[in-house]
């Protein structure tokens, strides 16, 4: 393919900027499969010893990796389900229904979307404490979903806005109620957005660290990110290779999901425009 600009400077700049990242990823993979050699960049012998956490619990005080993975999965899935189901109704209302204070809610959405949520952490802590949901997975799920909702609603509103009005008017003329029109005529049009949002929300939940760390520090509700943090926090016996192996294990689903769903995820960044 011919271009109307020279490609090599572009490639060079992009490569240079990406190089540190690539090096980090390479060593992440290499180190997790080899025995460490202190003071050398050349890796030692190949070993699966670093992945022993998969079949044995590293030390008595720690939960099994499978329990933690299950927690993470439940956490991410619940967050994805809650965000998608609330976004798909709330965004429709904001996009199409004329109700009092619509402008206020829309404005609030934009403000919350850009709001640094960590500043709310103490208030959230107190509320969870009061409700008895502190140190439970359920509590963190609620908080994470609530904090990510503005983003989800905003994305879905973008998708709803692209559905032609005439389709809804035609549905109403055909005798369908507004709810039926939404469920049977409009929802199928925004389905690509919904599935992309679901995947993205799952990934957001999967990678969440601060909320579980602060709001569910106990071992029952531990997720992979806090498990990983606990590994490195324990400085009595530092094992960087173990840490990297767990990191690999933690990152694999993310890479897998991106590989499988990348086209769907691109939808979101297109803001729902058809391509």
């Amino acid at each position: 393919m011919r271009h109307n600009f020279r490609t090599w400077p572009l490639l060079l700049i992009l490569s240079l900027v990406s190089l540190p990242l690539i090096i980090m990823y390479v060593f992440q993979v290499v180190d997790s499969f080899t025995a460490p050699k202190p003071g050398s960049l050349i890796p030692g012998a190949v070993t699966f010893e670093n992945f022993r956490f998969l079949w044995e619990t590293p030390d008595p005080g720690r939960s099994s990796i499978w329990q933690v993975t299950f927690n993470t999965f439940v956490f991410a899935t619940s967050v994805a389900v809650i965000i998608t189901s609330i976004s798909m109704t709330a965004a429709y209302a904001l996009s199409r229904l004329n109700f009092p204070a619509r402008g206020f809610f829309l404005g609030g959405l934009i403000v919350l979307h850009g709001f640094p949520t960590v500043t709310l952490i103490i208030a959230i802590f107190l509320i969870l404490q009061f409700l008895g949901l502190y140190d439970s997975l359920f509590g963190v799920i609620l908080v994470k979903s609530a904090l990510e909702l503005p983003f989800g609603i905003w994305i879905m509103k973008g998708f709803y806005d692209t559905v032609p009005w005439e389709i809804e008017m035609a549905g109403v003329q055909d005798g369908a109620s507004r709810f039926t029109v939404w469920r049977r005529l409009v929802l199928p049009q925004v389905q690509p957005g919904l599935s992309a949002l679901f995947v993205l929300a799952f990934l957001l939940g999967w990678s969440e660290f601060v909320l579980p760390l602060v709001l569910a520090p106990g071992s029952d509700a531990q997720v992979l990110s806090t498990y990983l943090a606990a590994l490195i926090a324990d400085d009595s016996k530092l094992d960087f290779s173990l840490y990297k192996a767990v990191g690999m294990f933690y990152a694999l689903p993310v890479i897998f999901i991106y590989l499988v769903f990348q086209k769907k995820l691109m939808n979101i960044y297109g803001g729902g425009t058809k391509g």
Binding site: I167, M169, A170, G171, Q173, D174, G175
Partner: protein, 348 residues
């Protein structure tokens, strides 16, 4: 069934778009709401189907008052300008949708969909998706969907605007045929006078939220109520000249004089409307001028003739006259067909 719209008023915020509009559509009849953009024709249509609320007035379907009924309970079929087919459903599912909402049995639905698909000639397309259809086929599906539940009225909002010229011609007669076969009273919203004149029994010509004239197409053409109607209808359009009123006659530039009919009192200012087919060599002489533009239209030629006083008159003639731009001509006017208007544009 007869449709009656009485004293219809519609406001958007402080802006009154339509004030006290009356409209009656007789059963089985097809009428056009014709007018320039922004004249309120679509607003009227949307009020009839229930998408817009009426601010004042009442709407009757037969004896039934429907002004406050939601769209779902009005039983009107609407064809939208962009057809508004449901893209994720097959043609069959699109047409069946109004019936599935009514929870009819599957066999009933299938029979009715097939019936209506035969009527609009899309029997072999039922399995396709809307995206796999041409514009004309989508149009037929939209018609079928609007008609399948046997509506009291069929409303068509600029149904031909998105079609190319040839298809438009075809769908014009198709829509009319389908309307007449089903016998459902229809309202066509359009800004295209040819569509309105060729498809409809009567035309309601609208301007600035009012119906200016509501009559048969031929009446609107030959006997327009005012200058707006005369200038809106007719293609190529009518030309206007300002004659000098002199002792009971109208003096045209170049010497031709037309007697003022007796029932019209001599006014200081009168405008004459001359349609292109009423001006030409076959009507004698008396209106000389210079040909400043010739447009070849195939079967006919359209001439723009510049008169001595600077006004422009159009003439349409059979092709092959051999007259070119710049030629000096002296043609006549069919005095009986000339339309007279007073200075406010009202017909004299």
């Amino acid at each position: 069934m007869q449709l009656q719209l009485k004293n219809f008023t519609k406001r958007f915020g402080d802006l009154t778009v339509i004030e006290n509009l009356d409209l009656t559509v007789n059963s089985g009849e097809m009428i056009a709401l014709l007018g320039p953009s922004g004249c309120g024709k679509s607003t009227t249509l949307f009020a009839i189907c229930g998408i817009h609320r009426m601010d004042e007035g009442e709407l009757l379907f037969g004896d039934r008052e429907v002004s406050d009924l939601p769209s779902q309970k009005r039983n009107v079929g609407v064809v939208f300008q962009n057809y508004a087919l449901y893209p994720h459903m097959s043609v069959f599912e699109n047409i069946a949708f109004p019936l599935t909402i009514k929870k009819q049995s599957a066999s009933d639905i299938e029979r009715q969909v097939n019936e209506i698909a035969e009527l609009v000639y899309i029997g072999e397309l039922l399995k396709r998706r809307p995206a796999e259809l041409s514009g004309g086929q989508q149009q037929r599906v939209a018609l079928a969907r609007a008609l399948v539940r046997k509506p009291d009225f069929l409303l068509l909002d600029e149904p031909l605007a998105n079609l190319d010229a040839k298809l438009r011609l075809e769908m014009r007669s198709e829509i009319r045929r389908i309307q007449q076969e089903t016998g459902i009273a229809a309202i066509l919203v359009t800004h295209d006078q040819v569509e309105a004149m060729s498809m409809c029994d009567r035309i309601a010509l609208m301007d600035a939220g009012k119906i200016v004239q509501f009559d048969q197409p031929s009446v609107l053409y030959t006997d327009p109520a005012n200058k707006f109607v005369a200038s809106f209808l007719g293609n190529p359009p009518i030309s206007f000249i300002d004659p000098i009123v002199d002792s009971g006659a109208l003096m045209l530039p170049g010497g031709l004089s037309i007697a003022i009919p007796e029932n019209i009192s001599a006014q200081s200012k009168v405008q004459l409307g001359i349609r292109p087919e009423s001006f030409g060599p076959q009507f004698g002489t008396g209106l000389p001028g210079k040909v400043c533009f010739v447009e070849m239209q195939g079967r006919e030629e359209l001439f723009d003739v510049l008169l001595a006083d600077g006004s422009l008159v159009r003439s349409i003639q059979p092709a092959g006259s051999g007259i070119n731009v710049g030629a000096q001509i002296d043609w006549g006017v069919a005095a009986d067909n000339v339309l007279m208007f007073d200075q406010n544009g009202a017909r004299l």
